[in-house]
Symmetry: C2
Subunit: 414 residues, 2 copies
């Protein structure tokens, strides 16, 4: 089955937002073996919308549409699809009830416009929306399938994941299973080289690598008529890859590095505190994205000034004078200092030059020290990073989390 993603919305053509829905839907469809050959975007214009949809139905088996399901006169997706597919719009009682309840909860009056949202093409499969008012739907006709989903990603994503993807899975005899392996610490080219023997002999299981800033994701996919067989083969390939990449593999569930670290800390009950300089609170802000992290995260000090390094972290003035704020010695004292004042199991510190100014011949922009203090002593890592300020800061954050992850792994091995 070949698919096309057709987004409707003038805000996309004005450049107010990027079409991240197309990215998300493409990933999910590719995961289950549906090829995406086209993305298209048209505005809230009935003539152009109609011709774009006609074209999509001519060249693709499946058309996934996003947007244009809102309550206003501009929102024309349902009307246009119904016209082209020869369906009437009829009131869907259950959707009307959901919309009425939605407004009741918000304590806001229901308007006529919102009732329009409960009208759906006859004989369609309704997709309920738990995060907004516009229901979605799936229409089948003459070997073509049109799916309509609302534009806001927070509404669209759960509807896709919970209803649309299972719908397509159930239509196919073939079972397609995918897994994302996340790797930190090996570049994409080197990784491909290391995996070449697996990539070359791939038969059922396909292996693809994708580089993301500072990280690589490996997607492995398998199809079979028997899901258990597909999963078994996938597990075998995952094992082979794990042998090659070793502990650079940090997740086989497509999780972010910071999530893995947060979960490890919480599960092991190991407490932590941060002392950040060049990252300016990024490490702390990222880990506090995790609900419930307060069980193990005590505090962070963003010691931008030397005065703060001395006062908050107990870094010695003579260390700063002799070695400078960006030095192995200062990083170590910062890590030990935050561990001591916070009374946590771990203390992690970062000091570096994120640029664009502040670099010298001996301490260039991109020089970063990360130190991790624990009951076993203090380890310090020197990084020499390339790129602009944003890249250097982000790459430092990844390295910091990876250092914690590796400590936690070794700890549990002891």
């Amino acid at each position: 089955m070949d698919a096309e993603i057709l987004a409707v919305g003038t805000e996309l053509l004005m450049g107010q937002i990027a079409n991240t829905n197309a990215q998300y839907i493409s990933q999910r469809l590719n995961d289950i073996g549906i090829n995406v050959y086209y993305h298209s975007v048209v505005g809230d214009n009935p003539v152009r919308l109609k011709s774009a949809l006609e074209l999509a139905l001519k060249r693709s088996d499946v058309v996934i549409m996003t947007g244009g399901l809102g309550p206003t006169q501009d929102d024309l997706t349902k009307e246009t699809v119904s016209e082209i597919m020869g369906k009437k719009l009829v009131l869907h009682d259950e959707s009307l009830k959901r919309i009425e309840n939605y407004f009741k909860r918000l304590n806001r009056p229901l308007t006529k416009n919102n009732i329009k949202q409960a009208y759906l093409p006859e004989d369609c499969l309704v997709i309920k929306n738990d995060n907004g008012t516009a229901p979605g739907c799936i229409i089948e006709k003459e070997n073509k399938i049109v799916v309509m989903l609302p534009g806001p990603p927070s509404e669209m994503r759960p509807m896709l994941d919970d209803t649309v993807i299972p719908y397509f899975k159930s239509k196919s005899q073939e079972k397609i299973v995918s897994k994302y392996l996340r790797i930190f610490g090996i570049g994409e080219s080197l990784l491909e080289e290391k995996l070449m023997h697996l990539i070359e002999k791939q038969d059922n299981v396909t292996i693809a690598t994708y580089a993301k800033e500072g990280e690589v994701t490996i997607r492995i996919t398998n199809k079979s008529n028997d899901e258990a067989v597909a999963l078994r083969e996938l597990a075998h390939v995952e094992e082979e890859i794990a042998k090659v990449v070793g502990d650079a593999l940090y997740s086989d569930e497509d999780k972010e590095l910071y999530q893995i670290v947060g979960e490890m800390l919480i599960n092991k009950g190991i407490t932590i505190a941060f002392a950040e300089s060049c990252t300016g609170g990024l490490i702390s802000s990222v880990i506090t994205d995790i609900p419930g992290i307060s069980a193990v995260f005590d505090r962070a000090v963003v010691s931008y000034s030397n005065k703060s390094k001395v006062e908050n972290l107990g870094v010695k003035q003579e260390t700063l004078d002799k070695f400078g704020a960006v030095s192995r010695e200062t990083a170590v004292e910062m890590a030990e200092g935050i561990r001591k004042v916070a009374g946590t199991d771990l203390g992690l510190s970062v000091t570096g030059i994120a640029g664009p100014g502040g670099g010298t011949e001996f301490k260039p922009v991109g020089l970063v020290y990360i130190a991790l203090a624990s009951k076993n002593g203090t380890a310090c890592k020197e990084l020499r990073l390339a790129g602009n300020r944003r890249k250097i800061r982000n790459y430092t954050v990844l390295n910091a989390f990876d250092m914690i992850r590796r400590w936690l792994m070794n700890e549990s091995n002891n």
Copy 2:
């Protein structure tokens, strides 16, 4: 002139990246009065690329293409465009020299594939690429214009801004000028209501509002044969809008709120420190995105635990016991505490419940206190925010920066 943006790249259809190029190009074209009616994406497939380009040339005057200019066999944009436009590919000496120099600088050998990148359609206008190897080009034929740009945004953006936009501007008699006014603290509906008299009477100058999370941007655009006239009319409308929105208008240069605050602090030489709880270091990480902020930013304490609030900020244990960590009283002591320990002009604190857990009947998720301590005393603001953890944290950050901005504005008025 009506335009279409056609991106070429299988990585877009696989969902590896979002088509942010289309967003960027759409903004820039709209700024100079070129309507964008379609975005399309096709993979590195010659047949589909050809038919997508033929369609684009049929329905649009201008086709801006991104991607497919790389050195590999997959990269087919130039070949396909040349075929359809009836042009030969010829070696462009200057581009070859640029590519040779690029590899010399990197100390890497030049391959045959890279020489392919110096071949361009005859009679085209070459767009030089200062950040990569693939030159771009503009081809005109029979009232149609095709622009080819490389896919990586860091290469594409400067080529668009420095060559393509001036090229289109020079083609038009009419001068189009735009300005973005950034507003914080008035919702989009209310803002439209307040501006209705201006929106309704708009003649030359068009006014459009765009909502972004927690903020609104107003774009004002004007066209005239005389740029000075266009600018004068624009300035007049800006004044009218400013009268209506007052000091909710924080930038007329499309800058972010935190940038405005950072610049104000640096220009006035006013020092600051943060005490963050529910935002977990976000405020600090955002402001340290600004190079040179160390002149005024001293430190931040992310006091996630109550212990840290007492130890680092001098919050009284009895305040925590009596009023709780999320309270006006604690926020005030945190702000005064961080101002005192850091010895800065300003101390800003945040404490709140970001959710999803931790809410109670009297202190629900979304309850946030922001306090700002200065020589004039301490102000505290209570917020009741809706949305998920991410939204609550981001909205708190915006409110915090706005509170600082308003203090700095009043200060300079005294």
